[in-house]
């Protein structure tokens, strides 16, 4: 049951602080939430991965749809990727990896009882 709460917490906090902080604030948020949540390390990673990945994917896809794929299409071409969705996917995976690793570290360092 704590998993969805952790994921939602990471997304909400990252979203709120994200407007005024640099991109790597997602790592800090995922780490701290992971630390407080005290999941098993594997689950901690999964929570951080899914949270930041989903957050970045949704935000990217939302912006891409509103933009009618103009920017992401060009960025995809710049990085020799097949299309705007792939580019959104790459964005999400980078965010997910950083979030996952940070939350994993948090879980490992957590003193909270499981």
């Amino acid at each position: 049951m704590r998993m969805p709460v952790t994921i939602i917490a990471i997304i909400v906090i990252a979203f709120i602080v994200g407007t005024i902080t640099p991109w790597w604030s997602v790592a800090v948020v995922a780490f701290l939430v992971g630390l407080l949540a005290g999941h098993k390390p594997g689950l901690g990673f999964l929570a951080g991965f899914l949270a930041v990945g989903l957050y970045w994917l949704c935000l990217a896809l939302y912006r891409d749809a509103a933009n009618e794929h103009i920017l992401a299409g060009r960025m995809a071409a710049l990085f020799h990727l097949p299309g705007s969705y792939t580019f959104a996917g790459v964005t999400a995976i980078i965010g997910a990896l950083v979030g996952g690793l940070a939350a994993w570290a948090g879980s490992l360092l957590s003193t909270r009882k499981r």
Partner: protein, 815 residues
């Protein structure tokens, strides 16, 4: 996992792994936060909040805006029309230029910064060592020196000082506030931040244009060519005026006698410095040119004058131009502005319209400097040892220590080649270069006054301030007048001065005094009822001051031929004429080429025999002719004149004339063969080579002219993903529709100056410089098809506009 079973066992290894992961994650974040080789920093770039995704402008973005701006003195309204062109309504000049700066920055900040950085030789600072040769060249050319001179002139004049100050404040207002959140995508890709705008940058932009348009010189190549041939032969190949030229100022126009006496040329021996073959390699290709013409009411259906202009410049994205209307008390002007420069550069107001083409009269000359042996700080002039003026050019290089170049200045200008600087075209001789662009001039005064000019006299008064780059300035007004001026600041030269590299030993080769502006070539309301310019020679031989220049004639011939036949002309006729693909070169020279091949058969020849000389996008004949001509032209000249930069070989039009009139020219023969080839032999041989090459090409793809030519509009940072290539356009540099690979009609404008001004325009791009905006290149498809936007021109002083798609309401910030 085993160590998960009890608290005591779990804790320690977990902590260690935890710390390791913290370090690992931090390292990953660090790596993603920094550029990796050519790869930009991916973290900040991909960040969907602030990164590139923030540049994904929603297609339905609401551009309406209410904003308080600190420096405004009154309320101002900006109406964006359905083509996304802003119409600024301000209550005074200050607010007008302040808002123009704010707008330019909003849509084009990165481009403005890059173009002015390029002008100043400051690209290495953001791009690293690879840009150092470019930066050095800009510094060597004295670009900053030139801009600083003109900045002093602009700031000494209270009108232009106020204009520039207001514009600069507007740009900086954007950078200081919105620039932080709305950083253009390219800044994120290149990993740097905007620096504050300055008045100097406004001037640098104009010097960048001046360098582009008047910064080339054939002097060195001509000196070399003169060592390969006699003076008579040189004059045959490179006549000062091509026979049959249709000059900018119509032949027969009377000129006032010269008020400045022109000195006699010094003895020939001293007027030309020989350059040997090993002294240089090649020149960059240039494809710049422009068309303009104006018809008086006697030739139009409406009875009102029509003015047409299409300057051919580098085709880039973000586009060179930004459309705008500027309205304030005393000014109501509409047209194309340059991001980075206040005012409208080409356009029209309530009374007059004007256009520009480049005037290639030579204002850049090379001098050989004789150093004082044993004293590196001095050179000889008039028998005296004269010390150089030294300027240290400090170039910041990203990731490296600053590079310092010492550039020396002589009485003959910048010592470009001093043995310490090497480039493709450098010489071993010590050469200084004198350029009109170095002199303090105030072109912004010309723009300021032009934008407000109400009649011909005010127009003439305005353009007096336009000194460099020299321009053919065409004019039409609502009173029915048409006019043209070959405008610029020109020195009185002796005949032939500056054609070759000159000796710099004494004052005999110095430029003479400046020719009074009133004596610049011009024509007002000529009897023929039209005026035209297309980079051709400025005058016939009646003009009292000798001059030389890098003129071309083919487009001018075609334009004059078409205009001479005009009657009852309409705006759509003129739009069609701007898109004219007719190759006057082919029309003149192809019949003789086909005649030489009359015994030959083949599908290429058969098609050419029925061809209408139109270089249409899908024309195969266009491809065949262009290819054949290229090979033939090289066969005539390149074998005899090796190592001559391509652009300095005789002009295509001169080659054409010689082929038609002189079958004995020694250059037809290929000196590498024992046989003596005639012109017909060379034509046949080049056709054989062409047919072979084209058959090969056809196997791989089509021979459609547009595909072979590959006109493109390319992103300024050369990013293919942000560029458009393979555009379906016809024409070539020598047709009116002057579409080359990366140069072409950068702004097409047709204005009918009637009771109601009817204006049309288009440029290959869009108002927004953001590759993530739907306004990035939305004009491009229309431009490719030769279509135009009707330019909305609203009455002065009427800020409320029901046709506006978006409205900006800007108010002074309450203190």
């Amino acid at each position: 996992m085993a160590w998960n079973t009890t608290n005591g066992k779990r804790k320690r290894p977990n902590k260690i792994w935890g710390y390791i992961l913290v370090v690992f994650t931090t390292a990953l974040v660090y790596i993603l936060d920094h550029p990796l080789g050519a790869l930009p920093a991916l973290g900040p770039l991909l960040d969907p909040v602030h990164g590139c995704w923030a540049n994904a402008e929603p297609a339905s973005f609401d551009y309406n805006l209410n904003e308080d701006l600190p420096a405004l003195t009154g309320k101002a309204i900006v109406n964006f029309d359905d083509q996304f062109v802003p119409h600024i309504n301000a209550t005074n000049d200050h607010d007008l230029y302040y808002i123009q700066g704010y707008l330019h920055a909003w849509f084009r900040l990165w481009q403005m910064e890059m173009q002015t950085r390029a002008a100043a030789g400051r690209i290495s600072e953001i791009a690293g060592e690879k840009a150092l040769p470019f930066d050095r060249k800009q510094r060597r050319k004295g670009m900053v020196y030139a801009a600083e001179n003109s900045l002093r002139a602009a700031e000494a004049n209270p009108v232009t000082k106020a204009m520039l100050d207001a514009y600069t404040a507007g740009v900086n207002q954007f950078i200081a506030t919105r620039g932080k959140h709305q950083l253009p995508l390219e800044y994120k890709l290149m990993g740097f931040k905007p620096e504050p705008w300055t008045n100097l940058k406004c001037i640098l932009l104009l010097k960048y244009m001046a360098d582009d348009l008047s910064g080339e010189s054939d002097d060195i190549a001509h000196s070399y060519l003169r060592t390969l041939m006699s003076e008579a032969e040189f004059n045959l190949l490179y006549p000062d005026k091509i026979p049959g030229s249709s000059p900018v100022v119509p032949a027969g126009t009377p000129f006032a006698p010269a008020t400045i006496s022109v000195s006699a040329p010094p003895a020939d021996s001293s007027s030309f410095v020989p350059i040997s073959a090993t002294d240089f390699e090649s020149l960059p290709q240039h494809g710049k040119g422009s068309n303009s013409w104006a018809l008086s009411g006697s030739r139009t259906a409406s009875g009102d004058p029509i003015l047409c202009n299409d300057p051919h410049l580098g085709l880039n994205l973000p586009s060179l131009w930004f459309q705008v209307q500027l309205s304030a008390p005393g000014i109501n002007v509409c047209g194309a502005s340059l991001p980075g420069a206040p005012g409208v550069v080409i356009g029209f107001n309530d009374h007059i319209s004007w256009g520009l083409t480049n005037n290639y009269r030579d204002v850049k000359d090379f001098y050989e400097i004789k150093p004082v042996e044993g004293d590196a700080g001095k050179y000889w002039f008039n028998g005296q040892q004269v010390p150089y003026t030294t300027r240290m050019e400090r170039i910041a290089v990203k990731g490296k220590p600053d590079y310092v170049d010492t550039v020396q200045y002589t009485i003959h200008g910048v010592l470009l080649y001093d043995g310490r600087y090497h480039e493709k075209f450098s010489t071993r001789k010590l050469l200084a270069v004198k350029w009109m662009g170095y002199e303090a001039s105030n072109e912004y005064m010309a723009i300021y006054k032009l934008n407000r000019a109400g009649n011909y006299d005010e127009y003439v008064d305005a353009i007096q301030h336009f000194e460099c780059p020299a321009q053919n300035m065409i004019y039409a007004d609502r009173q029915g007048h048409i006019a043209i001026w070959g405008q610029g600041k020109f020195p009185a030269k002796w005949r032939g001065q500056g054609k070759y590299v000159m000796q710099g030993l004494d004052s005999s080769t110095l430029w003479g005094p400046v020719i009074p502006m009133a004596e610049n070539p011009h024509a007002l309301d000529p009897a023929q009822g039209y005026l035209a310019s297309a980079n051709e020679n400025t005058t016939d031989t009646a003009y009292p001051y000798p001059y030389t220049g890098d003129f071309v004639e083919l487009r001018a011939w075609r334009i004059n031929e078409l205009l001479a036949k005009t009657a009852e002309v309409t705006v759509p006729d003129m739009q069609a004429m701007q898109g004219d693909d007719y190759s006057i070169l082919a029309a003149n020279v192809l019949p003789m080429m086909l005649d030489a091949c009359k015994v030959y058969k083949g599908k290429y020849l058969d098609s050419l025999r029925a061809w209408d000389y139109q270089l249409r996008p899908y024309s195969m004949c266009g491809t065949v002719f262009q290819h054949w001509w290229k090979i033939l032209y090289s066969s005539i000249w390149m074998d005899d004149l090796p190592n001559v930069p391509g652009e300095t070989l005789p002009l295509a039009e001169r080659t054409m004339q010689l082929m038609l009139t002189d079958s004995t020219l020694r250059f037809y023969d290929d000196p590498r063969t024992a046989k003596r080839e005639t012109l017909a032999d060379i034509i046949r041989r080049s056709y054989y080579q062409t047919s072979q090459a084209l058959a090969e090409k056809e196997k791989k793809g089509s021979l459609d002219w547009y595909k072979v030519k590959n006109t493109g509009v390319r992103h300024l940072a050369k990013l293919d993903a942000f560029s458009y290539t393979g555009l379906e356009t016809g024409g070539w540099g020598n047709t009116i529709n002057a579409m080359k690979e990366d140069h072409g009609p950068s702004w097409r404008m047709v204005v009918q100056m009637g009771k109601e001004i009817e204006a049309y325009g288009i440029y290959p791009g869009g108002q927004s410089g953001n590759p993530g905006s739907k306004y990035y290149a939305n004009y491009l498809p229309m431009w490719v098809k030769g279509q135009y936007n009707k330019l909305h021109f609203y009455p002065a002083g009427k800020a409320e506009n029901s046709a506006a798609k978006y409205v900006w309401t800007l108010k002074p910030a309450s203190k």
